[in-house]
């Protein structure tokens, strides 16, 4: 079952890369391939697009023919943890425009400490405040770098 998951990863990544290869070829086809001065902007992308399509097709075909699969089998619980961390990070970046870096980053840290690592609320709140304040003090005040600011002005 888990081995099958890994194999389906190869299949879907192969299909996605084949689609990207087709997109590259279609785009490159619309640009000049060659001119009297030499190769045009479509020349190089066309060839690596063809290479990508061929290799991705090979990956898909090897999957369908049941080729050997390397690496550890997938553990969906662990993957879900990593993806939830990524989602939290993406949401905090999306909030930069509204809340600014400091507040969004404090929320992200709180989520990681309290939800992902199941530490007490007090520990999470102190960690969130300390890291966000630390970033503000070091980067914005000490190094003079500008961090994304939100509607609150910081």
């Amino acid at each position: 079952m888990e081995d099958g998951t890994r194999k389906s990863g190869d299949l879907w990544s192969g299909i996605a890369l084949a689609a990207l290869g087709v997109y590259i070829i279609v785009q490159a086809w619309q640009w000049e391939y060659s001119s009297p001065e030499g190769p045009g902007p479509g020349f190089f992308p066309l060839w690596y697009g063809i290479g990508m399509l061929a290799l991705a097709a090979l990956l898909v075909v090897s999957h369908l023919r049941g080729a050997a699969v390397y690496g550890k089998p997938a553990d969906w619980k662990r993957i879900a943890r990593a993806l939830s961390a990524w989602l939290a990070l993406a949401v905090s970046v999306a909030l930069f425009k509204i809340l600014g870096f400091v507040a969004s980053f404090a929320l992200l840290t709180y989520f990681i400490v309290a939800v992902m690592y199941r530490r007490p609320v007090r520990t999470a709140a102190i960690s969130a405040f300390a890291t966000a304040a630390g970033f503000y003090l070091v980067f914005e005040l000490a190094l003079g770098m500008s961090l994304p600011s939100g509607m609150l002005g910081f």
Binding site: G38, P45, M52, Y70, S127
Partner: protein, 501 residues
């Protein structure tokens, strides 16, 4: 004589107080990064790269190089005390280092790792100093076809050694070439693959991809698990960290073996310190009189790989600085750093910027001495870094990554791209796609396309120019042979065994 005067000039640069400070900052950060499992040199260098834009280039390259070789010293600490490699090159140190620690000889293992790193690291810099200038002189005769062939050969070697599946490694390299094509074509001013977004007209910043794929991908991968590993006790006091005379005597061949193998493997694109450390461990075991005891806590089993992974640094800088060809993810980021500061690594780099080259070489001698001092008596202090809870460490890495990207461009769009590449880096790890070919494809992509197009302009469209010149013909033939290796059963079995081990 040129070398001697260059080196003296280099020491004048490296001993300037500011550069000395940056050298110390680099090796110190490198040691900390090496100690921390889950945060490697490419991720750290990528994260800190934006902060170097306002620095003097000599200080900046001295600091980034310090992180690169400093991490290799620190990497052994966790291998020995936790059986967890601080970075990939220290994997093999776990085998005998952890066994020594379990038998109460952690101090001797940590000490010999630092001494072997110092000896071999210094030999590696010596090699860099002696080999780079003549190689650069030879490469002055290269023109566009030779450069295209050289970049193809470098990419082929990285693809061969980067992953178990050569198809996936090639796909990763082609993906890197595609990212490099995004933006405005400098020959024709056509915009390519911009999806109608103005922000993409100037292309995708190398830093965004490097931080996303290496730093975020690595942190997300580490956040999969909640548990933390147990640390063995660190011996206190310098006396307990020094190996005995017998230990040093036993390691004589290991020092030489690590130094030579590390440097030679380093000069090959795609070689890398992990392969260097495995090869020198294998050789040490093969020639040892007590080969049957390897794996049970033999001191040469620590000295040989630790030496090799440090000597490899000097070797890896040879093709980077003389030919502009990086051989690994870390050197690809160093290449991007040099380009971003306005330099062009290649045959003219040493004659045009002698202060920078010789300053870097001299700083590496000084940095190795600093590292020996830092890593012998202060190992217990660095080991304390491991007590930092991961629930604090990971938000800090994520924060530095976000600030690094934002400070480089001031663009929230780039932060959005960072999220995309972070997810891509994580998925590549999960699906067993190696990251090094992608980063190399990205770093070499525009140069490869330029060299190919210039070659075809020189020959009025005749592809035969690539094979009619002897040097490019040899290099392209080698690249083809390398990519065909998986088709030969025995050779591919050897490649897979090396990667599996």
């Amino acid at each position: 004589m040129d070398i001697l005067s260059g080196l003296l000039n280099g020491f004048a640069v490296a001993l300037a107080p500011a550069n000395l400070l940056w050298c110390f900052v680099g090796v110190f950060l490198g040691t900390v990064v090496g100690v921390l499992p889950g945060l490697g040199p490419p991720a750290t260098i990528a994260m800190l790269l934006p902060l170097t834009f306002s620095m003097n280039p000599a200080g900046a390259i001295i600091m980034l190089a310090g992180i690169y070789y400093g991490a290799k010293y620190g990497g052994s600490t966790t291998s020995i005390l936790m059986n967890v490699p601080g970075e990939s090159a220290s994997v093999v140190t776990c085998i005998d280092g952890y066994q020594m620690a379990r038998k109460g000889r952690a101090g001797a293992a940590l000490g010999i790792a630092a001494i072997a790193s110092f000896v071999a690291g210094t030999v590696g810099v010596l090699g860099l100093m002696l080999v780079a200038p003549p190689l650069a002189k030879f490469a002055l005769s290269f023109s566009s076809p030779e450069y295209f062939a050289l970049m193809s050969l470098g990419l082929a070697l990285v693809v061969l050694l980067a992953g178990r599946s050569i198809v996936k490694a090639l796909l990763a390299a082609l993906f890197g070439l595609w990212i490099a094509s995004i933006g405005t074509d400098l020959f024709s001013t056509n915009s390519r693959f911009t999806f109608g977004r103005m922000e993409l007209l100037s292309g995708i910043d190398f830093i965004v991809v490097a931080i996303g794929v290496f730093a975020l991908g690595e942190v997300l991968g580490n956040m999969e698990a909640r548990e933390e590993t147990q640390l063995l006790e660190v011996p206190k006091g310098l006396r307990n960290l020094l190996p005995t005379w017998q230990d040093l005597k036993d390691c004589r061949f290991a020092f030489a073996n690590g130094s030579v193998i590390g440097f030679l493997v380093g000069t090959l694109p795609g070689g890398g310190s992990t392969i260097a450390s495995f090869l020198s461990y294998g050789l040490e075991k093969a020639v040892s009189r007590r080969r049957d005891q390897f794996g049970t806590g033999v001191i040469e089993g620590v000295a040989a790989p630790e030496g090799a992974n440090n000597s490899e640094t000097g070797g890896a800088l040879v093709p980077l600085l003389t030919l502009g060809i990086p051989g690994s993810g870390t050197t690809a980021i160093l290449l991007a750093a040099l380009v971003l500061w306005g330099f062009k690594p290649g045959p003219l780099f040493i004659p045009e910027h002698p202060d920078l080259f010789w300053g870097l070489v001299a700083s590496m001698y000084i940095g190795n001495v600093m590292l020996l001092v830092l890593n012998l008596p202060l190992v217990p202090l660095f080991a304390q870094v491991l007590r930092m809870p991961v629930y604090l460490l990971y938000p800090l890495i994520l924060g530095v990554s976000l600030v690094g990207v934002y400070s480089a461009s001031g663009s929230l769009f780039d932060l959005g791209l960072l999220m995309v590449f972070g997810l891509l880096g994580y998925l590549m790890r999960k699906l067993d796609y190696p990251a090094a070919p992608l980063i190399l494809g990205l770093a070499l992509g525009s140069g490869m396309e330029r060299a190919l197009r210039q070659s075809l302009m020189m020959s009025q469209g005749e592809l035969s120019i690539l094979v009619s010149r002897p040097i490019s013909a040899v290099m392209l033939s080698l690249a083809v042979v390398i990519l065909l290796i998986p088709l030969f059963g025995k050779l591919n079995a050897w490649r897979l065994r090396a990667l599996e081990s």
